[in-house]
């Protein structure tokens, strides 16, 4: 907890905004009609800081990342809102301008490194590709850059391993290579889409540490997508909690985790097993997220919310200030804040660290 607070005390007002997402909507075309999978998502990521997008699977966090990176599947499209990278609107760029940004402006780390790496090329070829595309280097120069990158992300014997294929590496090493690729051209923004989900716990910690080190070295903004509360508590400065394609709460991690102002955040924090006694039921949020096809007209969380009232089923709450730098999309955020009994222990999350995976 102390660490979280320490980071929070850094002056965020002077930090430079690298990525500003405002009112982003993403639609998917399905045979039975258009489905809005990301609705009205807004957040800002600052230079040298980590913003976490936290949520359950299917809540739209990966889709948000793909929309920012311009890597949506053909069936999905950005339906509204703006995405600005250092003041330039990504959505209004031509495909060519977009390609020029991909790499030097924005790097992305994918979840499963085995499928994300092309199986038929050596890692050296793939690491060097960015340099060949953007810097017009020849094969030899690109290979030298690849070796340098591999050394930077801690791969032993890079001169030898540069000629190996992805399947000849362990999961953790593959993830390192993927990260190396994303930071190859020193991007201003790094999006890490569940970079540790496919890895075992000890390797997860090393990968997170590598990301932290690279963030500091490059002074880049990091958008970290995860479903892991402990990772958020440990790594992130700010957090955006997403539910059914919407941001329900956002703010500095320390504030949000110590005084949540949305019932979903509260439910999430309470479901972290801390001092569980054998035989006791683990706390969980009853029900499951709504199908994106039938999102309720009112609050997206109303069906599972213990505080739901009539207004919640009719009017969708806007994201409104609910504290210092904190925003919540709940009609009752003030009462949540006022009632101390509702505040779960933020320390619990930080102290459990990597021991749980919700």
């Amino acid at each position: 907890m102390m660490e979280v607070l320490d980071r929070q005390t850094r002056d965020t007002s002077t930090a430079k905004a690298v990525l500003a997402v405002d009112g982003l909507d993403v639609d998917i075309r399905t045979p039975s009609g258009t489905v809005r999978v990301v609705g009205n998502v807004s957040f800002t990521a600052y230079q040298g800081q980590t913003l976490a997008l936290l949520g359950e699977s299917g809540c739209g966090k990966s889709m948000t990342a793909k929309a920012i990176a311009g890597l949506l599947d053909p069936v999905a499209s950005v339906a509204g809102g703006t995405v600005q990278l250092e003041g330039r609107d990504l959505n209004s760029m031509s495909p060519r301008q977009r390609r020029e940004v991909a790499g030097p402006g924005l790097g992305i780390v994918f979840q499963d490194a085995l499928t994300a790496l092309n199986p038929v090329y050596t890692v050296g070829t793939q690491l060097g590709e960015a340099f060949r595309i953007h810097r017009g280097m020849n094969k030899k120069q690109a290979r030298a850059q690849a070796i340098e990158l591999m050394r930077r992300v801690g791969i032993p014997e890079p001169e030898v391993r540069v000629s190996a294929y992805p399947h000849q590496f362990s999961g953790g090493m593959r993830q390192r290579i993927l990260i190396a690729m994303a930071v190859a051209l020193g991007p201003r923004l790094l999006i890490a889409d569940e970079p540790t989900t496919a890895l075992d716990v000890t390797v997860q910690a090393q990968i997170m540490e590598l990301l932290r080190r690279l963030r500091e070295e490059e002074d880049m903004a990091v958008v970290l997508i995860t479903h892991d509360l402990a990772v958020v508590a440990e790594e992130a400065d700010d957090v955006c909690i997403m539910y059914a394609g919407n941001v329900v709460e956002s703010g500095p991690v320390a504030t949000v985790f110590s005084t949540p102002t949305h019932p979903y955040t509260k439910g999430l924090l309470e479901s972290v097993p801390t001092h569980a006694v054998r035989g006791d039921d683990l706390s969980s949020i009853p029900g499951s997220p709504p199908e994106l096809k039938n999102i309720p007209a009112g609050c997206v969380y109303a069906d599972r919310c213990p505080m739901a009232a009539a207004i919640c089923r009719e009017v969708r709450p806007e994201l409104r200030p609910s504290g210092e730098n904190q925003f919540s999309a709940c009609h009752f955020s003030e009462s949540l804040r006022a009632d101390p009994a509702t505040a779960p222990a933020g320390q619990a999350v930080a102290s459990t660290q990597h021991e749980e995976t919700p």
Binding site: K66, A69, G70, L71, D73, P74, P95, R99, E100, V101, A102, G103, P104, L106, G107, I108, F110, D112, T115, A116, L117, N118, P119, V120, Y121, T122, Q126, E129, A130, I133, H134, G154, P156, E157, E159, V160, R161, S163, A164, Y165, H167, Q168, F169, S170, G171, G172, M173, R176, L178, M181, A182, A184, V203, Q206, I207
Partner: protein
Amino acid sequence: MLTYLRKRIISSALPLVVVVVGVFALARMTGNPASLYLPLNATEAMRADFIAKNGLDQPVIIQMADYFGGLLRLDFGTSLRTGEDAAAMALRAFPATLQLAAMTMVIAIVLAIIVGSAAALKPNGVLDRFASFVSMAAASIPDFWLAIVGIWVFAIYLGWLPTSGVMGAAAWVLPVATLVMRPFGALVQVIRGAMVTSLSEPYIKLARSKGATEYRVVTSHALRNAAAPALTVAGDLTVGLINGAVVVETIFGWPGIGKLMIDSILQRDFAVLQACVLLTALAIFVLNIVIDVGYALLDPRVRPTAGARARRKARTASIDSPPAAPNETPVPAAAGANV
């Protein structure tokens, strides 16, 4: 590589023997060549003489033993029809078949890559549906029908192309066009399917995230991955052309091995038939090795494991002790170790 070859030869030897035995026995069931090669009014004595001279009076099992004995001395027998060496006749006919097959496959592969990839760019788009229809039609048209219609339209009615023969480039058009259809149709479907799969893989997104152009994404990343499955099918189709262009070669009077085989069957020219079968079997054996090697070149995951290579290198190093070239040992033992 040598171990691999040895294994391949051993595992291919038995099927080859079975094929030769089968052809040997079946050919003799079609009847006695004596009734074909002697005049209608030949006497019984002449018949008996012909049969004895060609060893056909022996039991089939003895004939077979003689034949295999001959094979060991590379004696493939002589043609009843021409008295020539059977192997020489088969070898003389083979290049025509190989040229036809090579020309056909090159055209089919190039066209299929273009059409299949274009179709895969927008699955279920107009182009995809059109390509699907065309490739289905191409793969299902019977070749003898197409050959005959082709001759009728282009050779007889329009008079643009010769009806048969191998003289000049024009003579190639109809046989190649007829033969191209099936491999083209089959390959378009395979390449389209493989391209749709590889274009939806995460590594395509990774390539795009590096700012790769659409052309680079499609060719260097997607097509390169789709090549291995396409190669397997292309190999099978080539095998079909090497031993199976019988109908088309016959219709167009193409002096290839297919036509020679048909003629030998009709003439009960057993030795030539067997030589043709052996030669095509050998060609298919070689082709399969080429496909295997090609597959390993296209997909590093099926190459002999890096570990095995490193061990082998270590072994040779201990014998000859040459300094190991650094860029040829991509596999430290840490390959499987975790971070």
